[in-house]
């Protein structure tokens, strides 16, 4: 029998039955000892853990359970007007900036440079898969225990202020793009396997998100000057 762990994530009470040392460690910041009824319950079967191990040779058992429980969380988040975005999110003064790109382009590098430049003023909300929810007529971004291999996340939230599509470049360039150009870029960074019953909410959320949050394409080098330029540009626009 797997042990029950109660968490508070993205303003939701989440019950997870698991034996993963990885989730145990990463989940500590989110532990909740209230007796609130769970909004989301998660338990990953051994079957699915084995399947995950088959598909990902670099996983061990605990990491596989951690990974699959994360996928379950983001799927079950959708009916609560939330979704996952593969991105690195840094927050400054309560405003969240989402940097998204394929793996390896440099999202984490860029956001870590924000923290180098701004010090404690910048908070890493989630370095890999922040949860975004539409609450009280605005989009909030949250840390979760599922933050990729480097476990960079904070149990914090911020108002989503910008969506930045990151590309490597030889000098700093940033341009605002209309929401229809953001559609093709953002979809590959969201959950791939959408259940039919969640599709309507997921796409309505995405439509509203892109019409609400300004989108940018940013090309830059991987140095602190880029972080400075990005911060100065993005913070001025609000």
């Amino acid at each position: 029998m797997k042990r029950l762990h109660k968490y508070k994530i993205a303003d939701l009470t989440v019950d997870v039955r698991h034996n993963s040392s990885v989730l145990l460690r990463n989940g500590m910041k989110y532990a909740d000892d209230s007796s609130d009824k769970a909004d989301i319950t998660i338990e990953v079967s051994e079957d699915r853990i084995l399947k995950a191990l088959e598909y990902n040779k670099s996983f061990d058992r605990d990491y596989a359970e951690y990974f699959v429980s994360g996928m379950d969380f983001y799927r079950k988040l959708i009916p609560h007007y939330g979704f996952m975005l593969h991105s690195s999110c840094v927050a400054v003064d309560g405003k969240g900036y989402l940097f998204t790109a394929d793996s390896g382009v440099g999202k984490s590098t860029h956001t870590s440079l924000w923290r180098e430049y701004l010090g404690d003023r910048a908070v890493m909300i989630n370095d890999d898969k922040p949860a975004i929810r539409y609450i009280d007529n605005k989009f909030m971004v949250y840390g979760t225990p599922w933050s990729g291999k480097s476990d960079e996340s904070s149990n914090e939230s911020a108002v989503v202020s910008a969506l930045v599509f990151l590309e490597r470049g030889s000098c700093f360039e940033i341009e605002a793009i209309p929401c229809d150009r953001a559609v093709e870029r953002i979809i590959p960074q969201m959950l791939r396997y959408i259940r039919p019953e969640n599709a309507a909410i997921q796409f309505d959320l995405l439509d509203r998100f892109l019409k609400t949050v300004p989108s940018y394409v940013m090309k830059c080098t991987q140095d602190i000057e880029s972080a400075k330029s990005a911060w100065e540009f993005l913070s001025k626009n609000f």
Binding site: V183, R192, D207
Partner: protein, 89 residues
């Protein structure tokens, strides 16, 4: 011919996109953009089980173009989207 219900046409932030849901998501990684009104119209026609000729007839009426062009549009549509498995077998 009919479009598989696992492919949904959604207007997201002003763009008409076809997104796979459920099992179809395993085959199509991402989405397909329908770039013009005729593609969107043809898509909606194929939500029912119809023949190419029937769709061509509808296009002739809706867009006021000649039949040869209409048939060409429909065939081009099928050619572009079939590889993604959007049509029911």
């Amino acid at each position: 011919m009919k479009i598989n219900e696992s492919f949904l046409l959604k207007n997201i932030a002003g763009k008409n996109v076809v997104v796979p849901v459920g099992e179809a998501g395993k085959k199509l990684n991402g989405m397909i953009t329908l770039k013009n009104d005729s593609s969107v119209y043809i898509w909606k026609c194929f939500k029912e089980d119809v023949s190419i000729e029937e769709v061509a007839d509808k296009i002739v009426k809706e867009f006021n173009i000649d039949r040869e062009k209409a048939v060409a549009y429909v065939n081009s549509f099928i050619e572009k989207l079939s590889p993604y498995g959007v049509f029911c077998k």
